[in-house]
Symmetry: C2
DNA sequence: TTTGTCTTACATCTTTAGATTGAGATATCC
DNA sequence: GGATATCTCAATCTAAAGATGTAAGACAAA
């Protein structure tokens, strides 16, 4: 089965020449991967990526010359469907979070067994995202803590909870940049009625104008309270 | 080893009585878990949680009466260190994302093997976050796509890049809810000058009023561009 | 039935916001 | 030196937003 599959083209970027050599040997031994480039420079790596269009990049993100995270971002911007796997010596949750946020498809510790690196590459090559279990936990630790403030605000202190259903609808339209006329048209009510609702919203949210109301809504999880939306 | 460990107390919430019974039997068979409660009502479940302080809650999030996600949020608000594992029939990435965002420590599909449920409980009981590999991929799919717009927008299409330094300062103050007078006072310039800047901002961002300008700024990574901030 | 909340609506008035035009002072680039 | 861009300020005008008070109909709960 695997023989019929096209080999995945891999580019290696690691400022540590020794480690770079080691990984290169390791990957070269795998029949399903071709190493199309290996460099100790992030900048050169980005250029090689443009030139050779690899399927996967193994990127050390702890480099002095150029921040590896920045390199990931630049590669993602190319929009060439290159899957970046971050290599790092640290299991720092902030680093993991930022790498994944920038679009990395995997994050592997240098101390991990080489078999795990290959496994990660297999997973990523097949279109999945791969994080070792331990790092997934780390990631969520950070991810959830960054939302905790929002979620933990009790109903009493979240002024949004005082809004009526209709007021929420109006506020929702406000957070989409509508003026009175636009809201009136969308809700099929008169403009003066909208003014009434908006004024009530101001009172309840303790703000002075629509911009502040919108900001309050966005900063206090209004999107979650209502239907869907990206909300990140 | 496992004998010496205190049993984990588990609360089950699932509006489907049959499934609830099945899970209860399954968990009861495990020597390391005690089922301290089982109910088909989310509201009753929340009260049971307050009363019995379980270590883990298995929560069905597809319930008609009360939204399971909302229930998770309420339990998290209790701040009682209860680990919630979401049970769902769907591997919808939006659902997974929202559940994890609200603080769920795991997400299991009802169709998954019972062994996997127990494994997830073991992991979560030991303080980890557990997501089956397939769902982790789903999660990151959603997670990364929600950041893609921000990161991938090239400078040319991001209208924010056309703003001058001063205009960015003004916009920054706009995104804090200031009116003309407030901005003028903070920048030590006249109100009319602020009006000029604001009007130029409107032109460049192609919007009609300050609320739309603020929304454009927030939706296009303006915070990142300036001083960082949580940004999640 | 009464009480209360919500939704709708209008009038009136004051204050901001926004559009437009013009212009002087600096700094930079070529 | 001249073109260009930025930052500053002003006057003027129109449109929109916001504050305040009043009130009627619907509906649910007490």
């Amino acid at each position: 089965m695997r023989e019929f599959k096209r080999k995945s083209r891999v580019l290696l970027i690691d400022d540590n020449a020794d480690h770079l050599r080691g990984v290169k040997e390791l990957v070269t031994l795998e029949s399903s991967y071709d190493v199309v480039g290996a460099t100790t420079s992030a900048n050169i790596g980005i250029n090689l990526a443009k030139k050779y269009r690899p399927d996967i990049i193994l990127m050390d993100i702890n480099m002095p010359e150029k921040d590896g995270l920045q390199a990931i971002q630049e590669i993602e911007k190319l929009d060439m469907d290159i899957k970046v796997i971050a290599l790092s010596g640290y299991d720092d949750s902030d680093l993991i979070f930022r790498a994944m946020k920038l679009g990395a498809k995997g994050y592997i510790l240098k101390t991990m067994a080489s078999a795990q690196l290959i496994y990660a590459m297999d997973e990523v090559a097949s279109g999945k995202v791969y994080l070792p279990t331990a790092l997934t936990s780390r990631f969520f630790e950070y991810f959830q803590s960054s939302f905790k403030e929002d979620a933990n605000k009790s109903a009493e202190e979240n002024l949004l909870s005082y809004l009526t259903a209709r007021e929420e609808e109006v506020l929702d339209l406000l957070t989409q940049g509508n003026n009175y006329k636009g809201i009136a048209g969308k809700l099929f009510i008169s403009e003066t009625t909208v003014k009434t609702h908006v004024n009530n919203i101001f009172q309840k949210l303790q703000v002075n104008d629509r911009t502040q109301a919108v900001l309050y809504a966005l900063n206090n999880g209004f999107a979650n309270r209502r239907h869907h939306r990206a909300a990140v």
